[in-house]
C-alpha cells in the first residue's frame, strides 16, 4: 500500500475498469433478470408476466429439458476428455526425459484455432459421403461396419459435437496439471518408493492429493466452460437432427435471435448462470470436503 494516497486517486484508477466491466458484464446480468420477467418480442410493448417464463421453462417445455440433458451429456464428454486426458498426458510427460516443452506446445495447438475453423474441420472429419477422416480411419482398421454419418445419426450426434470441444482444450488443462505435478516434491515420491509403493500408489497417495487444489480449479474451469459451450454444436448441427444435439445455450440463442422471444431467452440465460454457480458450489464442496477427510 502506498503511504500517500488520496481517495480521488483510488477512484480515478478504479473507475475505468469498473465502467467497462459494469457496462459489459454486470449491467447485462441485471437486465437479463429483469427481461426474464416479461414477454417481449422486441417490437411490440413489453408485457409483464412475472415468473411465467420460468414456469413454462420448468413445467411446460419438453425441448428445454431435452436440451438440459444434452448439455449434461456434453459436459460429461468434455470433462472426461479434458480432465482425464490432461491428467494422463501430464503424468506421461513426467516419464519422458526430453522434448517435454515441445510436446506441451504441440498439444496446445488446437486451442489456438477458431471454433469456426474447428467446425469446418470436424464437418469433414465426420463426413460419410465423401468418406471423411474418421470413417476413413475406421475402414483402414477393418472396422468399416462402424462407419456412419456421425452428425446425422441421432445416437452419435451428441458425442460427435462434444468431442471437438474436449479435443480442443486437452492441451490447456495438460499444461496446468503438468505445472502442478512438477511442483510435487521429489523427496516425497522417492521416500514412498523406498517404502515399496508402486507407481499407482505413488499417484493416488502422494501426487494427486498434492495437486488437489489445482485440480479443483481445473475442474471448475472445465465445467463452467462446458456449461457455456455453444460455438461448435451451433456450427456443426445447429441442434439437429431434431433436437438430438440441442444444448441449453443453442436453444436459448435460437429462442432469442430466431424466434425473437427475448423474455423467455433471458429466463434461460439466467438459468445458465445459476447452473454455473451451482456447479462451482458443488465442485468446491465435494472436492474440498474429501481433502479434509
Amino acid at each position: 500500500m502506498l503511504p500517500y494516497r488520496s481517495r480521488l486517486s483510488v477512484v480515478g484508477f478504479l473507475l475505468p475498469p469498473l465502467l467497462l466491466f459494469g457496462g459489459a458484464v454486470l449491467l447485462p446480468i441485471v437486465q437479463s433478470v429483469y427481461l426474464s420477467l416479461f414477454s417481449w418480442d422486441g417490437i411490440t410493448d413489453r408485457e409483464f408476466v412475472g415468473l411465467e417464463n420460468y414456469r413454462h421453462m420448468v413445467g411446460g417445455d419438453p425441448t428445454f429439458w431435452t436440451s438440459f440433458t444434452n448439455q449434461l451429456g456434453y459436459l460429461a464428454v468434455c470433462l472426461v476428455l479434458q480432465l482425464g486426458g490432461a491428467l494422463l498426458v501430464a503424468s506421461l510427460l513426467l516419464t519422458i526425459t526430453r522434448g517435454r516443452e515441445v510436446v506441451k506446445v504441440l498439444y496446445l495447438l488446437p486451442a489456438v484455432i477458431s471454433t469456426v475453423a474447428i467446425g469446418l474441420l470436424f464437418q469433414r472429419i465426420y463426413s460419410y459421403d465423401p468418406v471423411g477422416l474418421l470413417n476413413g480411419v475406421l475402414d483402414d482398421l477393418g472396422l468399416g461396419s462402424l462407419s456412419r454419418p456421425w452428425l446425422s445419426d441421432v445416437h452419435t450426434v451428441l458425442a460427435a459435437v462434444s468431442a471437438p470441444e474436449g479435443w480442443r482444450f486437452v492441451g490447456l488443462y495438460t499444461i496446468i496439471v503438468y505445472a502442478a505435478l512438477l511442483a510435487v516434491p521429489r523427496e516425497l515420491e522417492e521416500a514412498a518408493r523406498l517404502d515399496g509403493a508402486n507407481a499407482w500408489q505413488v499417484f493416488t497417495k502422494i501426487r494427486f492429493p498434492y495437486i488437489r487444489p489445482v485440480w479443483v480449479t481445473t475442474t471448475i474451469m472445465a465445467t463452467t466452460f462446458a456449461l457455456r459451450g455453444f460455438d461448435i454444436p451451433y456450427l456443426l448441427t445447429n441442434g439437429g437432427p431434431g433436437q438430438a444435439s440441442e444444448l441449453v445455450t443453442t436453444y436459448m440463442y435460437k429462442t432469442a435471435f430466431t424466434s425473437t422471444n427475448y423474455g423467455y431467452a433471458s429466463a434461460m440465460s439466467v438459468f445458465i448462470v445459476l447452473e454455473c454457480l451451482v456447479a462451482v458450489g458443488l465442485i468446491s464442496l465435494l472436492l474440498n470436503r474429501k481433502a479434509v477427510r
Binding site: 502506498l2 503511504p3 486517486s9 483510488v10 478504479l14 469498473l18 467497462l20 466491466f21 457496462g23 459489459a24 458484464v25 447485462p28 446480468i29 437479463s32 427481461l35 498426458v89 506421461l92 526425459t97 526430453r98 516443452e101 510436446v103 506446445v105 504441440l106 498439444y107 496446445l108 495447438l109 488446437p110 489456438v112 484455432i113 477458431s114 471454433t115 469456426v116 475453423a117 469446418l120 474441420l121 465423401p130 468418406v131 477422416l133 476413413g136 475402414d139 483402414d140 499444461i175 496446468i176 505445472a179 487444489p213 489445482v214 480449479t217 481445473t218 460455438d231 445455450t249 440463442y253 432469442a256 435471435f257 427475448y262 433471458s266 440465460s269 445458465i272 448462470v273 454455473c276 454457480l277
Partner: protein, 311 residues
Amino acid sequence: MTSSPTDTLPKPAPAHGGQVPPSRRSQSRVHARRRRPLKPAQVVSRVLLGALLVVQVYPLVWILLTAVRDDADFASHGAFGLPQSFTLDNFARAFEQGDLGRNIVNSLVVTLGASALIVVCGMMGAYAIQVLGFRGSRVVRALFLVGIIVPVQVALVPLFVDYAKVGLLDTHLSMIIPLAGFSLPMSLYLFMSFFQYIPQEIYDAASIDGAGPTAIFARITLPMSVNTIVTVVMINSIFIWNDFVFGNTFVLSEELKTVPLGLQNYIGAMGKTDWTATFAAVCVTVTPLLLVFLVLNRAMMYGLESGATKG
C-alpha cells in the same frame, strides 16, 4: 497454494523463460539413465504419448495437406497418404470467394482495440486494488470474479437490446466492448498477482521523493510490467481473435465481419462447399496465429500456469 514452480523466483517473475527448472533438472538425469535400455513401462508411455500427439496434431496437418491438393486428388483419397498433386489454386479461389483481406483487417481492429482496453483497465484496476488499497477492495475483487464464472451468453440479449437503442449495433465497438469486458477479470487477476512481487521499498522510496500515485504508476509500475502485458495480450488476443458468438450476434454487414465470421461464409456459399478452397482459407487464417503462438508460447504458458496455480 504456493506450489507453482515459478514461486521460487525471488524477484518479479519474468514472463519469458519463466520456467527453466524442469528441463534443466531432467537433463542431468538423462545422461545417467541413457546407457540403460528403456524399461517396458517407459516404452508404453512413450507410445501412448506419441499416439495422443497424432490425435492432437494430425487434424491440423490434414488441413494443410488438403489445402494444397487438387479436387480430384482430395475426392479419391482416404484419410492418410501424402497428396499426389500440389497446387496453389485453392488459395487463389479462397481469396476470390471470400473477403479474407477485409476480414483480417476487422479482426485486427477488434483484437487491438479490446487488448488495449484490457491492458489499460486491467492495470489500473489491479493498481487500485493491489497497490493503492482501499476499504472494500475485497468486495471489488469478488465482483470481478463474477465475470470469470458467468457465461457470456447472458450478455447477448441485453447487449443486443441496448446496442439497438444507442445505435451501436453493427460496429466494431459492439464486439470490442463485451470481449474486453469478459476478458478483463482474468487479466486483472494476472496483473494483481504480478504487482505483489514489486517490493514495498520501491514505493516507499518513490513516495519519500514526493511521487504521487499517478507518477508512481507511470514511472514504476508500468515500466516493470512489460512482460506481464505481453502475457496478458497473448492469452486474450487468441480468445478475442477467435470470437464467434459476439460477432455473429451483433454484426450483420459483410464489411465488418471478422475472420471467424468470414470463414463461416465458406460453408455452402456456392451451393456445394468447395472443400479444398475452404481448407485453404482455414489455412490462411490459422497460420499467422499459429506462428505467433509458436514464437511467443513461453509468455502464454507462463500466464496459464501461474494463473491457475496461484488461483
